[in-house]
């Protein structure tokens, strides 16, 4: 037995240090821990939690509470509002105004958000496939992204101007090209929602475009070469390779545009104010109108909660889908 080993065994017997450690090893602290006090983690997590509590959680609870009460301008601050149970929800769910706005939302989701993603995907793939020069790609991407950088108030005013029925640029162009024979009344009932959708598509198509384009750029080129050697045609490559491999990227584009759709107020406000005769109102716009404009806080809160529920369901479905796709590819 070497002297060191002997020492270790003795030390184990005398001091109770386990001899599985070599003799030179002492259990002293090897490195200073990053967190020196137990208060640090509490502080680090606690501060953001406090901020979140103040600006997100408290207002949400406040909103939920008032969705069950008859709060309005008269007693918003005095606190004399009374409980009305689910009356606010009943009012909202049975109102024709809400039903109409849901229909408007569906139209907007389908022809606005979905169209933006489809159009963006199409443009992204065309740019990637047919523009081979990096300069040309960069230039066209910049051009297409420009609308996204304008503030909504400008976009709204701009499109109001372009779509002016009597002497607006769009009508004039369509007339000159012979596509229409008389002015389209862009801001009449039944048309004004479409005007908003057109402006929004112009404004936001670049976002899904950028997302899908970057997704396409990062697909491995070798896979495409393998497909060429296999003898797959262009259409088959698009349908069986490119689109399936871009599935989750496109899902992300959908999620972003759909979540935006539920808080879509700005263009509606600037272009039509929901009119004429509430024909271009979205649920969120009504909530804004009832709550901020008319101070029917209770009813507006009920609107908000219902919108929250709908959007949560839709986004959860998308996330579920994405998780499935990623799991299938062994990514998650």
């Amino acid at each position: 037995m070497t002297p060191e080993r002997k020492e270790a065994v003795v030390s184990e017997i005398v001091r109770g240090t386990p001899s599985t450690y070599p003799a030179w090893f002492s259990a002293r602290k090897r490195s200073k821990p990053l967190i020196v006090s137990r208060r640090v983690p509490i502080l680090l997590v606690g501060l953001p939690v406090l901020v979140l509590l103040a600006i997100v959680i408290y207002p949400t609870i406040w909103m939920f509470y008032h969705s069950l009460r008859d709060t309005n301008i008269n007693h918003l601050f005095s606190g004399e509002h009374a409980s009305v149970g689910l009356e606010n929800y009943r009012t909202v769910l049975s109102s024709e105004r809400f039903h109409d706005s849901l229909w408007h939302l569906a139209l907007y989701l389908f022809f606005g958000a979905c169209l933006q993603v489809l159009l963006g995907t199409l443009l992204a793939l065309i740019i990637y496939e047919y523009l081979k020069s990096n300069l040309a790609r960069a230039l066209i991407l910049i051009l297409l992204v420009l609308p996204m950088m304008l503030p909504p108030s400008i976009v709204g005013t701009l499109w109001r101007f372009l779509l002016t029925p009597s002497n607006g640029a769009i009508n004039q162009a369509l007339l000159d090209l012979g596509i229409i024979s008389s002015h389209i009344e862009w801001f009449n009932a039944g048309v004004s929602l479409w005007s908003i959708i057109i402006a929004d598509v112009w404004n936001w198509t670049a976002l899904p475009l950028l997302i899908v384009y970057s997704g396409r750029v990062s697909l491995p080129p070798a896979v495409y070469e393998a497909a060429r050697v296999d003898g797959a045609g262009q259409w088959k490559v698009l349908r069986r390779i490119t689109l399936p491999m871009l599935k989750e990227v496109i899902a992300i584009a959908f999620i972003l545009r759909f979540t935006d759709a539920f808080k879509f107020v700005d263009l509606v406000y600037v272009m039509t104010s929901g009119g004429p005769a509430q024909s271009s109102e979205l649920p969120t716009y009504i909530a804004f109108q009832r709550g901020i404009r008319e101070f029917a806080i209770g009813e507006a809160a009920a609107y908000a909660i219902i919108i929250f529920a709908i959007s949560a369901i839709i986004v959860t479905l998308f996330l579920k889908y994405m998780k499935r796709v990623m799991k299938a590819q062994g990514l998650a």
């Binding site: 491995p220 896979v223 050697v229 296999d230 003898g231 590819q329």
Partner: protein, 373 residues
């Protein structure tokens, strides 16, 4: 089934990569192209596959000229270094993709994929996605996709280079036994000389400028390299290359290492081949297996004094790196022997096995200079 004929193939981007390359690969032949990284091996494969277009020259499969045909009309199958599996498709769908692209019926696809998967021992993985199988299994899936296509030509790009040693050995054995690969012309690209020597019916060593410096069987290339480049690229440990000058004394030739005291007598046959040429600058090529401690090798050797620098005992042999007359010479010994650094010993050198290359051109002075096979 067809042989590959390549005539005067040229390809370059900012600089020439493949320069006037000609080679013929027989039907049923396993032809390996070996060379250092970035020399143009993959480019050669991509040219044959049709993924790149040749700047000049012709590629023929059998009698058919394919130089300007798109990849799918060439009837070639290629595995990619990165495997290039479709990540969203199962192993089955990956393997069957060339068949589906050619619109084969369901039953045929099922039968052929099953057969290939069984052959490669991945038939239990057919329902998995590439993300859920190991590297070796991915590689075999990629190989399966190539095999199932039933092409006229197989192009394999470093198919096993990125796998760990054990699986690499397994797959190498599999390449030996795969009938499919032995029926048609196969072009196999690798940077690993052992793979090349093991697998190739014939081997082409690709050197600078994308030329095949020498083409031949493993034995030919190893024993009679036509250029220093070939000798240096094949073999581990690397051949000793000693810059020397030829000197004549009493009618026989000696090779004297430049700026060093090392002096080796050449055999009469070698002297005859060199045909005089005293004062000529050469590079002496000396394979480590022809350098041994004097007590291990007998016969036709010349012996020199040396000193051990480094001794490495590997599993199957020992490597001695020695200093002899100011020149570093690597030799082999038995692994169970032991040498200390600084230890003096006599080295025996098999001068019959010496290679002699021209110092300027790097070409062998003992072999007929015959380029491009």
């Amino acid at each position: 089934m067809a042989n590959i004929t390549i005539e005067g193939l040229c390809k370059g981007w900012d600089f020439p990569v493949i320069d006037d390359l000609s080679v013929e690969i027989e039907e049923g032949e396993f032809f390996v192209v070996v060379g250092p990284s970035g020399i143009g091996k993959t480019t050669l494969l991509r040219l044959i596959a049709g993924l790149e277009s040749a700047d000049r020259g012709r590629i023929l499969l059998g009698e058919r000229e394919v130089t300007h045909l798109p990849p799918y009309r060439r009837r070639v199958a290629m595995t990619f270094e990165s495997y290039a599996l479709y990540p969203h498709l199962t192993v089955f769908e990956n393997i069957s993709s060339p068949l589906r692209a050619r619109k084969k019926d369901r039953a045929t696809i099922e039968r052929r994929v099953k057969a290939v998967a069984q052959l490669l021992r991945i038939d239990h993985l057919l329902d998995r996605k590439p993300g859920q199988v190991s590297g070796g299994q991915k590689q075999r899936t990629a190989l399966g996709r190539t095999l199932v296509a039933d092409p006229e030509v197989f192009l394999l790009d470093e198919p096993i280079s990125h796998l760990d040693a054990k699986i690499r050995q397994d797959l190498r054995m599999q390449f030996h036994t795969l009938e499919e690969l032995r029926r048609v012309a196969t072009l196999y690209v690798t940077h690993d000389y052992a793979e090349a020597l093991s697998l190739g019916d014939r081997i082409g060593v690709m050197g600078n400028g994308g030329k095949l410096v020498q083409i031949g069987s493993a034995r030919e290339l190893f024993e009679r390299p036509k250029a220093l480049f070939v000798a240096e690229h094949l073999g581990q440990p690397t051949i000793n290359a000693i810059p020397s000058i030829l000197q004549e004394e009493n009618g026989s030739l000696f090779a004297c290492a430049e700026n060093a005291a090392l002096r080796l007598a050449l055999s009469p046959q070698q002297s005859q081949r060199l045909n005089g040429g005293a004062k000529r600058r050469i590079v002496l090529g000396l394979r480590p297996q022809h350098v041994r401690p004097a007590d291990e090798l007998r016969g036709r050797d010349s012996e020199i004094d040396a000193q051990i620098d480094i001794f490495e005992a590997l599993g199957s042999n020992g490597i001695i790196i020695t200093k002899a007359g100011g020149v570093t010479i690597t030799g082999l010994t038995h692994p169970e022997r032991h040498f200390e650094p600084g230890q003096d010993l006599r080295l025996a050198i098999d001068t019959e096995a010496l290679h002699i290359f021209d110092a300027e051109t790097g070409l062998s002075l003992l072999e007929e200079p015959r380029w491009q096979g």
